[in-house]
């Protein structure tokens, strides 16, 4: 304990004004605050402060993502061995997935944080913690087969264009992680559609099992091949092809539990995304003209990235609406638009990403109207008061 404090104190002068690494002051500060909460005390305003800080808040989102991360790793291995028809035990499946997923996580964190540190140094502000979450979200929402360089390019693009140009964490309009995903989706479409969801990586003597398709449930549905849809239980459990973190609804629910219990994630948004999805699903059932529109609405909740998006993506407090009632509208519309894209748009099988990005753009507008309604209510009070005094 003391040794670390001593080390920090010993290193500090090099990074302070006039020191050798003066320019890296912000980098030093980021590492210092990561190692230890500084002895900084309140100067004005409230003398005592809640023990929470941004690091802890973001860290709890990371904790909430651990179930999906672990499940995703295992599923990568599981799908791989199933595709080549090999029966191996649980640990082998997990380790295989771990080795495939870990590089993606490392690349995402390193490339994103380097950009963050550079901008913090140029702009001379403290390094913000937002990327702790984005850095893990990015690998979770891409196929395991995405090349590493592509992850790096997408992450750097997302952090610069999605966040830093607007002023950094807290100022961004679009969810950076989803922007990275969208960037990949539109810049390298061939790597993000088709049979990319399962790492096959055939070695000598291995071959794919007969009837292997590797298509996600949504892709299956888009082709109208309803018979080959995995069972609801499989989809709920998550033993299906898909992006690394999105497949298991049950793991997502565990994460949701953490977010709601700690009060870090917005329950309002989660519940209204689900409501919007179910509502649109029922509407489709009523006016069904094809088999896709006939599937039970709750199928949509367990397929693709719906659950993951509702819990981890839509709830990003910076890019979501900021007003209480705005959150219901925002969430509900995400649910609606997701299903519209999924079912009615033949071009994209999955709609969650685009729905959230679209609503990110509209969030300030929703907030504007909620605030205007609030102002109107207040004005009415003023008018009533004036009438009374007359």
């Amino acid at each position: 304990m003391k040794a670390i404090h001593k080390l920090i104190e010993k290193t500090r002068p090099h990074f302070e004004k006039g020191g050798r690494f003066e320019k890296l002051n912000r980098t030093f500060d980021a590492f210092e605050t990561f190692l230890a909460v500084k002895g900084d005390v309140t100067k004005k305003g409230s003398h005592i402060r809640d023990a929470i800080d941004m690091k802890r808040t973001m860290f709890h989102v990371v904790i909430a993502m651990i179930p999906v991360l672990l499940f995703g790793m295992w599923n990568v291995g599981y799908q791989h061995y199933a595709a080549i028809g090999l029966e191996v035990d649980f640990m082998d499946q997990f380790v295989f997935g771990l080795l495939k997923v870990l590089p993606l996580i490392v690349i995402s964190y390193v490339s994103g944080l380097v950009v963050e540190f550079i901008f913090a140094t140029i702009r001379n502000h403290e390094v913000n913690e937002g990327f702790l979450v984005s850095g893990l979200l990015i690998p979770l929402i891409i196929p395991v087969t995405t090349p590493l360089w592509m992850v790096a390019v997408a992450t750097i693009f997302a952090v610069i264009i999605g966040k830093e140009v607007f002023g950094g964490t807290g100022m961004n309009v679009l969810n950076p992680a989803l922007l990275a995903r969208a960037f990949l989706f539109f810049a390298y479409p061939s790597y993000l559609s088709g049979e990319v969801w399962i790492y096959t990586g055939l070695q000598q003597g291995q071959q794919l099992v007969d009837g292997f398709s590797g298509a996600t449930p949504l892709a299956v549905l888009a082709t109208g091949d309803i018979q080959n849809l995995p069972s609801v239980f499989e989809m709920f459990l998550g033993t299906i092809p898909g992006s690394i973190g999105e497949t298991s609804t049950i793991a997502v629910l565990l994460g949701a539990l953490v977010l709601i219990a700690t009060g870090v994630g917005s329950f309002r948004i989660m519940i209204s995304v689900v409501a919007g999805g179910l509502f649109t699903g029922f509407l489709f059932n009523l006016f069904a003209v094809n088999p896709y529109m006939e599937i039970p609405p709750y199928y949509h909740l367990v397929m693709g990235g719906f659950a993951f998006g509702a819990v981890f993506m839509a709830t990003d407090p910076v890019t979501a609406t900021q007003t209480g009632s705005g959150k219901y509208i925002y969430g509900f519309l995400i649910g609606v638009i997701t299903l519209l894209i999924r079912v009615l748009n033949p071009a994209y099988p999955e709609g969650m990403m685009l729905a959230i990005l679209l609503m990110n753009v509209f969030a300030p507008l929703i907030d504007h109207y909620v605030v205007q309604a609030h102002i109107k209510k207040r004005l009415k009070r003023l008018q009533n008061a004036q009438v009374e005094t007359r």
């Binding site: 920090i8 941004m54 690091k55 807290g170 407090p317």
Partner: protein
């Protein structure tokens, strides 16, 4: 009386160090000080020269921008010196008391026989006027305006708050006289807010000539701003006046006895106080007269002295002076020690409303909170949090943002006239981005006041 206004949103911060209901009178301080900085917006112009003999009630300085507002000496003795701060700003007007206890005689009069103008003149002359504050802007009331109504809060909900029932004990008559005086200042009502369950003193529950409102709920239910909002909210163009219980008592004494009797009761609270108690002192007293030998001594722990409460009070030196408006002197430990991986460890000794610490499972626990800020300032990230700690029909985050961008029109629409910095203290406390909301609100109020004066 029958209707209880329930405040649902808010938070009682479980701090150690409630004052025991024992009243002591410490020996007279060796020095007293009036701090012009206690009166927000007042620019002091001295009326006396160093070395002048003063009596209790002798004018010391007046406000450059409202010359009728004078601040008087709480004690008889000698005005010894000025203490100046940065840019030669006057920080303290120091007084050394004598043994005589001489008072200036303002004349005992029954408030009912006096006109409104006479009463105002007397309050101004005696230096008691600054006790009366106004909203909007949360500054000393403008004597030339007529307030819509006057508000008094008879209970406090801040952490380790003084018990106002105990404070008024024995001074019930003076309190009532003070209320009578205030009743003459407005055509509308004087509103007295009490706690539905905890207020038992008859000085409040049976106060005459006032409208009594009872409240129930967590902090900030005791804040005057919250009470005004729920009784009769301030609209654009309206002015209301408000003051604390001890201000009312001082005004009562002025009319009953004809003198400025600056006695007040201060609750000495906080986790670092060995025997938290109440002390009767003169306003502006040096705190060493009652803090000496009463502060916990521990290796590596520096105490912080706060005149006022931990949320909105002002830090003073260990040998500082009690603030003009403060009923409380709180002492808590400084949090100036770094803590290894402090943001990560699931500690039981830290308090948070976020449920990210295990301490949320022990709602009965009381805390010895320190002044560590825990993080550097960040932009707004978390939403939907601040609304839970501001029980008003106001969007806190949007209002703060409108102040940040200096949007006068928006500030007005979002309700800047109704708020004071102290109302945002809880929002500031819970803020994970550590944004200085009270300063921001004060800045917004200053901008508005400048714009409309």
């Amino acid at each position: 009386m029958s209707k209880v206004i329930k405040i649902k949103r808010g938070l009682n911060i479980p701090l150690i160090g409630d004052a025991e209901k024992i009243l002591q009178t410490p020996p007279r301080s060796a020095e007293y000080a009036i701090k012009p900085t206690d009166f927000h917006g007042l620019v002091p112009k001295m009326l006396v020269e160093e070395g002048t003999q003063v009596k209790a009630g002798s004018p010391l300085f007046f406000d450059k921008y409202n010359e009728d507002v004078v601040v008087t000496s709480p004690v008889s003795g000698t005005y010894t010196r000025l203490v100046r701060g940065a840019k030669r700003r006057i920080m303290e007007v120091r007084l050394v008391p004598d043994q005589e206890n001489a008072y200036i005689d303002f004349g005992a009069e029954s408030p009912t026989e006096q006109s409104r103008d006479q009463i105002i003149k007397k309050l101004l002359k005696s230096g008691l006027w600054p006790y009366i504050l106004q909203r909007p802007y949360s500054v000393i009331a403008n004597q030339n305006q007529k307030p819509r109504s006057i508000f008094i809060s008879a209970f406090s909900t801040v952490p380790v708050a003084p018990d106002m029932d105990f404070v008024v004990n024995g001074q019930e008559e003076m309190f009532q006289t003070g209320l009578d005086v205030l009743g003459r200042l407005t055509d509308d009502a004087v509103h007295l807010s009490i706690h539905a369950d905890e207020t038992t003193s008859k000085a409040y529950t049976e106060a005459k000539g006032v409208e009594i409102h009872s409240f129930r709920g967590p902090h900030p239910a005791g804040n005057i701003g919250i009470q005004i909002h729920h009784i009769e909210p301030i609209n654009k163009g309206e002015v209301v006046w408000y003051l604390g219980v001890q201000g009312v008592i001082a005004i009562g004494r002025l009319f009953a006895n004809g003198i400025y009797d600056a006695n007040k009761i201060v609750a000495h609270t906080g986790s670092e106080v060995l025997n938290p108690r109440y002390y009767r002192v003169l306003n502006g007293a040096n705190i060493t007269s009652f803090t000496e030998k009463n502060i916990r001594k521990e290796k590596d722990v520096t105490p912080r002295f706060i005149s006022g409460d931990v949320l909105s009070g002002e830090q003073i030196r260990p040998d500082g002076f009690i603030g003009f408006y403060d009923d409380q002197l709180t002492v808590i430990p400084e949090g100036d020690k770094p803590e290894l991986l402090g943001w990560l460890i699931p500690s039981l000794n830290k308090y948070s409303v976020s449920r990210t610490f295990f301490s949320f499972m022990m709602p009965w626990k009381q805390y010895r909170l320190n002044t560590n800020i825990r993080s550097g300032e960040r932009p707004f990230v978390i939403t939907g949090l601040y609304e839970k700690y501001l029980p008003m029909d106001i969007f806190p985050m949007q209002l703060i943002k409108s102040v940040m961008i200096n949007d006068i029109d928006m500030m007005e629409k979002l309700g800047i006239y109704e708020v004071a910095p102290e109302d945002f203290a809880l929002c500031e406390f819970v803020c994970p981005s550590k944004i200085e909301m009270q300063s921001i609100i004060r800045q917004g109020l200053d901008v508005m006041q400048k714009e409309f004066s």
